[in-house]
Symmetry: D2
Subunit: 383 residues, 4 copies
């Protein structure tokens, strides 16, 4: 399947679907087992136009919306959430690079030849990404970055990093930089051997006297948090919600397959014919449907500029992450011992599904924002 020269978002979504079937799905279990980075998946998705989805047509991209982002990510996540997370972080980075980055990088992204990612969370402030403690210092020839980043998706694999630090001299909490892979002084600092999302190279990274040119700055010194909140954050939150939804759909599909095909020989019936199974399954299926309705509503609000769009964006990741954790737990329980074995793919998705609620901003942090917003208080009022 080859893409047209100027692919529409429809073309991309179709091509992604094909790549997921041919490439992503078959590799998922092994990527989970070994924790290897899904390089072949990323290459195939690049070929399907996925990396340029959010890029503007003027640089050769598909000019997609967050609804398109959600569609692509859900499709990938149904097969492999690790790969979906790699693409999601690329979209979050792209949403900063598009308005603030250099045209050559934008063109490379649009053409599927450049993978980017975010480097936000830090050892010192942990999941409070809005309060970096790492530094940027003006030096001869540019700006020196020093940092201990705690989790960077595609660490050592991406072509660039959208990197947060304290400002050089401005007031304000944060400045953003576009740090190219290979910058001296930037290093992957460890490996990732985790519970879930094992294939996205989410390792710590360090910057130790890394120097970037002043032109690497994305937006004004000190303006980084506004940019992050205005572009990267909505993209991340909506995309993360879509990944959770894809995982849930896959989990409930696996559960349906299991209970309709497994028989209790001594009773002469399938598990699905047991009333308690039906009732439990219904609650899980309904939870997924209700979660999808909320993501749909969020995308509708964004698409039509509804006044509550920003609130929905702040809510949607938590709604989907909590639902994914609950549904995954319910499916594990419903499928019992069978789900405990790796054959069904349920336990892998379960482990992947628990990642969303601890990824920054966590559910608690989002609730803090939503609570202050809906009670008429300033957004960054608490600890």
């Amino acid at each position: 399947m080859s893409l047209p020269a100027a692919p529409t978002t429809h073309d991309v979504l179709d091509a992604v679907g094909a790549v997921v079937t041919s490439t992503v799905a078959p590799a998922a279990a092994e990527i989970d087992r070994t924790g290897a980075y899904p390089r072949a998946d990323v290459d195939a998705l690049a070929g399907a136009g996925a990396l340029g989805l959010l890029s503007a047509p003027e640089v050769g991209g598909a000019g997609g919306s967050l609804a398109d982002v959600a569609g692509v990510l859900e499709t990938i996540a149904r097969a492999d959430a690790s790969t979906a997370m790699v693409v999601l972080m690329h979209y979050a980075a792209t949403s900063v690079i598009e308005p603030h980055g250099p045209e050559d990088v934008r063109r490379e992204i649009a053409a599927g030849r450049h993978l980017s990612t975010l480097a936000f969370s830090e050892r010192g402030s942990r999941s409070h990404f809005w309060a970096p403690v790492s530094t940027a210092t003006a030096v001869d020839g540019g700006v020196r970055l020093d940092a201990a980043k705690s989790w960077v998706t595609s660490a050592g694999e991406a072509d660039s990093y959208v990197w947060s630090s304290r400002p050089v001299e401005a007031d304000g909490p944060m400045t953003l930089w576009l740090v190219p892979a290979g910058t001296a002084g930037i290093a992957v600092a460890g490996t990732f051997d985790g519970f879930g999302l094992r294939g996205n190279a989410s390792t710590p990274m360090s910057a130790d006297g890394a120097v970037v040119p002043s032109s690497a700055r994305l937006a004004d010194d000190g303006a980084g948090l506004d940019v992050a909140l205005g572009t990267a954050l909505p993209t991340f939150l909506v995309g993360n919600a879509a990944v959770s939804l894809g995982l849930m759909e896959a989990l409930v599909d696996e559960a349906a397959g299991h209970v309709t095909t497994t028989r209790l020989e001594h009773l002469g019936q399938t598990l699905a014919e047991q009333p308690a199974t039906q009732r439990t399954f219904a609650a899980l299926r309904t939870r997924v449907d209700a979660t999808r309705a909320f993501l749909t509503d969020t995308l509708t609000a964004l698409g039509s500029g509804r006044p509550d769009a920003t609130l929905r964006v702040l809510q949607v990741k938590a709604v989907c992450a909590e639902a994914a954790a609950d549904v995954a737990d319910g499916v594990m329980r419903l499928c019992g011992g069978a789900a405990f074995r790796k054959e069904l793919g349920i336990e892998r998705r379960y482990r992947d599904a628990l990642a969303a609620r601890v990824m920054a901003p966590t559910t608690d942090a989002l609730h803090d924002f939503v609570g202050r917003a809906t009670l008429g208080l300033p957004l960054f009022g608490g600890a």
Copy 2:
């Protein structure tokens, strides 16, 4: 405020809003206290065109959709869920009478001069309304009904009852009748002194040798369950969901008002300024928003004839009822001792909110249906 001669659904919704403010809201606490039937509310709502909302324009009605029903019921329920339940049962009855009932009754309903309701649940089969044990027997001059109905909203207050029984002679589980108020042998059998929804006269009724003419039959003998499932049930489920949503909105509004206006003097801050309050409030507010998204999605599915519309209808009451119970409990907890007193109106809504999950079809019964439907099994396969 007076309605035009041929009111549109918009006119009705506006007029209902005005009546709720002027009449329904001020009376709600007292209706709850005494358990009196909200006769003045019903009369005022009739004057606002609410009773004819679902009636066809050809008999003088507004020709409203289930989306209109949901809008009207949510508006009423924000002020008084008891009154909303009375109107809901009238809509459920109307949805049967419109296609199967006599034109004179339809015209009276459209004109706001006739209130109807359902008489389904029975002592013998309890919440399993699809399995009546009451009887209809052919006698000279018509059909004799004998029954012990367990819960009839507007019992002794409505102008007619859409009444279920076993068939006269057909196979099939149920036949429906339009029983006029005042039919000899029909009696209210007890009073209702309940936990919540105290003002809707939900008492038992008995039929002891009550004779109705054969023409009182709604649809064919034995076809009652199909009619109930095809018309009354969707109306009831969607409308009940809207009542739950109205209650939730009112509860969260009350909570916001309480925490933003109540001060902890020794700490010099309002309750809303406490981080734990913000977090808890956010979770409640988000739950309401997510629940609304599901009702919206259900109405969209119905409006556009989406293939999943029937499934959504089977899900929506349970989604909203469970959310209402959880949100009400969370608001009670958040507002602590203050919510325990009657002044805030929180404890009344809490009691009202718990009704939905036990009203037939209960959450469990709906999950049974949804589970069988989504696992590819026959709908009435279990106990």
Copy 3:
């Protein structure tokens, strides 16, 4: 049944059981309906020796332990939690009066002729009873008290109040006073019309220039919080837990009675014969048994001076209160529409059961204490 001259705790427990059967249980529904104070219950329980249970034998009391307190309160609470709460607050007050109060009052309490209670919570600091904002000022002839107490059980009914205020001149957060009923300037400030525990006269009280003699002080000026934490709090927490347990036992008993005696005629079986009912009931029954085990363990720890006794005491009210709320909700759901009507007594206990978790110290406040204690932090470190 008449008590011996020097009743043992056994005698008291037996006599209380008899009074509960003869007097408390028959009156419970009506007390709930009207919100009347259970004066006849209190008198009968006084006659059974209940008021002197905690009093030392040297003043004529039964010298009971907290285990005895728990036994008496659970027994009363199974029949009427409002009455149990009145007795509980008397015990909490007695535990302060016994070591710090005048002998004449102690003798009156032991003899069953004096009912006391706590007056701690205030409008200004709400459930944070450890931070009173009310004042005590040295004046000619004694000490002047000014306060707006928010919830006082047995307000206007008790013979004395163990009353908190800020110290007269000492450092420290609190001083305690024994304020006799009838003190000029002390008044009941409102009525209580609440969701649950409707019969314990839990109204606000005000002190407006009320003067008590200096001798009314219980323990040193400024030492009130230590006394409250050391005596009244453990008594209240353990006793409150016992009340929750009694409510749970009554609720589960009612549920068992309902499901084993109610038939589904169309299926020819009782509700108890339905597998889903059995499963749900088991979870409720088990929750009650597990909750009892924790109270038993707490009493064992107290009785044997185990090092974790203080921690258990800080935990036990929250464990029992949360369990009571959950079990009550589960019983309401299990018994469906029947529980919604007042006949079964389930909805009354449900309303009563929700009180415990909002009574100070609330579950959240207790968790704050327990969290700090078990993480090695100072007990009053947060907000």
Copy 4:
């Protein structure tokens, strides 16, 4: 550390503690990583007298009680739940072999030279172990066994299997056999690559024309279920509860260590100093304490022959398994991204903790039994 010739249960518990520290704990992470059988752990525990704990003194055992079993298993499970599960299944088997097995095997078990296990669950009847579909047929020279066992702990590693089948000719649901390792026709049928408890070799086993002597029968033909319910089941349920408790203790310890030592640099405080962390931690710590109280109560009931002892035994595994799942989930959430990495040991215990609720009898199955027992219905009345 060497054991005395006739070790007391105290000697065993001490020796087990030492072995856990020296051998079990250091190996746990690697056993989880590779899924290897903990052979060195089992040998060391055998040397500590653990295998003979339940054996009667007359055959050289320590004559331990179920309380001793619980103590040993909790100690092992704090370090490695896989190893604890191996020992637990040995105890369950021993409890059948002691009253019904041959003396030579009993002596070998007591001496720590024979490891046994149960082979109950089957592919055909899945977790309904009380309904085997496998067969035992009288043949020349003994009895022929044919079976597809679905989960056997220590499969291929144990020295014998307590094996269930349908009876040879008696009525009744089950007959038990002691099948020696190495019996021709018995084979391990697959490997176990699972979510948790990865080191206990819980693989399927098959019997294909395996012949055992008639003397291999344990108790009468057809009496197997009574024996299983009377001996193996209580041992398994209590021991499984103890394993869950050990896991919970380890999880909460890890959480306390993490939050007290991890700093938020930008706020200048540890995670433990955050109020929300304290509150969450308290709820988890309290849940563990409450769960321990229930296990203690169960052991007290067993030890004193209390009438409710059998009920407690039927409840205790579910109480502890559900608590373990909840506490593990709460710890994962509390410790966020850090818990997601393998370094802390939290995610391993989390995976291990989820096993208990799906091991037969599952929580649902136990609730079915408890529900019927406490509602006065026959124990095996449902499906």
